[in-house]
Amino acid sequence: MSVKKNLKGLTASLLLTPYLLLSSYLLSKGLQANEFEVSGKVGIEQRQFFSSNQYEHQFNQSQVSIFIEPELYWNWNEGSDSLTFKPFYRLDQQDDNRSHGDIREFSYIHASDNWELRAGIRKEFWGVTEFQHLVDVINQTDSVEDIDGEDKLGQLMLNLSLVRDWGIVDLYILPGFRERTFGDEKSRLRAPFIIDTDHIEYESSAKEQHVDLVARWSHSLGDVDFGTYWFHGTNRDPIINLKQQDNGIVLGQYYSQMDQFGLELQMIVEDWLWKFETIYRDTKFEHFWATQSGFEYSFIGVFDSAIDLGLLMEYSWDSRGEGRVGNRDKRGASFQNDVFFGSRLAFNDMQSSEVLVGFSADLDHNAFSFLVEANRRLGDNFKASIDIRLFQSNNPIDQLYSIKNDDHAQLSVEWYF
């Protein structure tokens, strides 16, 4: 399956050939003042699970993986033209699907005074909240990387960005869709059934070739920053369907078409950062509103030290409400009435040490999670991180129920070059 994935990556790079030719032409044209840089990171990561596996075939305790993410960067015409190539590969000891590669970025940018053209494989992040990224919609989630939804697959795009006095307007054409990644039967942190990465269906007859369109407007007015967009195209969240096969039942993925409105808002009021995100999504099967809102309050230099303390609180609401087990028409949402608390410590020391502690609870039923993320620099070029995640639920309708035995600690060391 990973061979197939790699082939898809290859197809994506072939699609890029015109951009490459254009870029090499531009490169040769502007050779007099170009810059070339190689940087990147290599890392090793170990996950240690505290309990034995909940489902058959899952590995028992420990998972080691290594990854590499180099970045090649060229610029010319005094930086107004640039090309970035950032491939990624992870080799995982346990999960064949987590052993995977991706082109995170392979893009050309031309910047002019009040407009910018970006073409190629890129990542685009939108949003202001910390515990859920509702409005972030462009890139597919690389969910085998981590369960926090912050790792994304590169997305092929053509993006024209216009800078005006009244804000920035971004227009996107997104040719080509990326399916979500899922772990294999050996993986932990998964649902009871294995999601079959070979059974993919689309609502659109163009399938993964559907061309998605997005328009976004963002602006800053004094202490308020906001962004709003309309997305038309393939829904990044698959619907998981039971499929009868010769060798039993498998879970297939179905990608519907959607229209989505999104809005993000952040306001600074003295030491408070107020945050708000909302989406309205319309698909063939459902239409709903969801919000994520909250604040971050900062104490600068606590206890007469250089340490900054941030307190965070967020609340999630979704008009779909709770799901019901076994009811296909009432799938519900996982963050429908959930509350999040967090505390962030920045030590502001030479090693940039940081600790984030978070807690979440579902207010409708029994489901809690707890996380600690701590990291610091070692020497000049290394960084060490420890992540601890605990999950608790006794209610099968909650997503955490399927990973209730997957409490784990993760230690990683990254070398930057």
């Binding site: 940087s39 930086g79 800078v163 030491d271 070029n381």
Partner: protein, 265 residues
Amino acid sequence: MKMNKIITTLFATLALTLVTSTSFATTPQERGLAISHETKARDKGWTDSTANMMMLLRNKQGQESTREIKIKSLELDNDGDKSLTIFNKPRDVKGTAFLSFSHPVGADDQWLYLPALKRVKRISSRNKSGPFMGSEFAFEDLSSFEIEKYTYRYLGEEPLNGLNNFMVEQVPVDENSGYTRRVVWVDDTEYRIQKIDFYDRKNSLLKTLTYVDYKQYLNKYWRANSMHMINHQNGKSTELKWDNYAFQTGLKDSDFNRNSLKRVR
């Protein structure tokens, strides 16, 4: 005779006025303000600048750590400067960039770009007193000098580095400043800052910043090649070394927005 002496004194005063333009100031407050105006006036018109900065952080035990930073600035006539700070080292923060619109009065507007997440974060500029990149420089020590940010008092004259210096006390207007006051030594020939003593919120001496090896650019603008900050309370120090200073490079307003923040290297 007596009349003559008075007239001579008057002429001498007038001549002095023409030279220093500060003699009309009578109170220490007015004199301090006048010196600061002159410092600011002599540095007007640079339009825009780019420079590389190397930070050398040293702790009490002598352990060292370096930071490599590029700074682009744009001078604005009717507002504070705009600046873009780009991090190159340590390598784990490479590509991180910081955009700031400073204002003479009120909070600055600041955004931070985190390249790993491709995320632009608006940040609260009330964090003035916090350390910059783990160094002994606070954010406020690196922001652009604006007259309105302080109140002033002239303290006297003192020789330093072979130059005669005015000593001016500056009291921050912003209550979020980490200092009760700063004492600034400015030489009386070119109005270059030679030294600053920083006093913490308890009014005890916290840090001393010395400016070393001034160089003149475009026959007008003086910049120190090196700045040395010593923290007297924790024994740590930070040395700033400037390199590749360039002025009037043609930077525009459009080089200081969210798009350029995400793109800049």
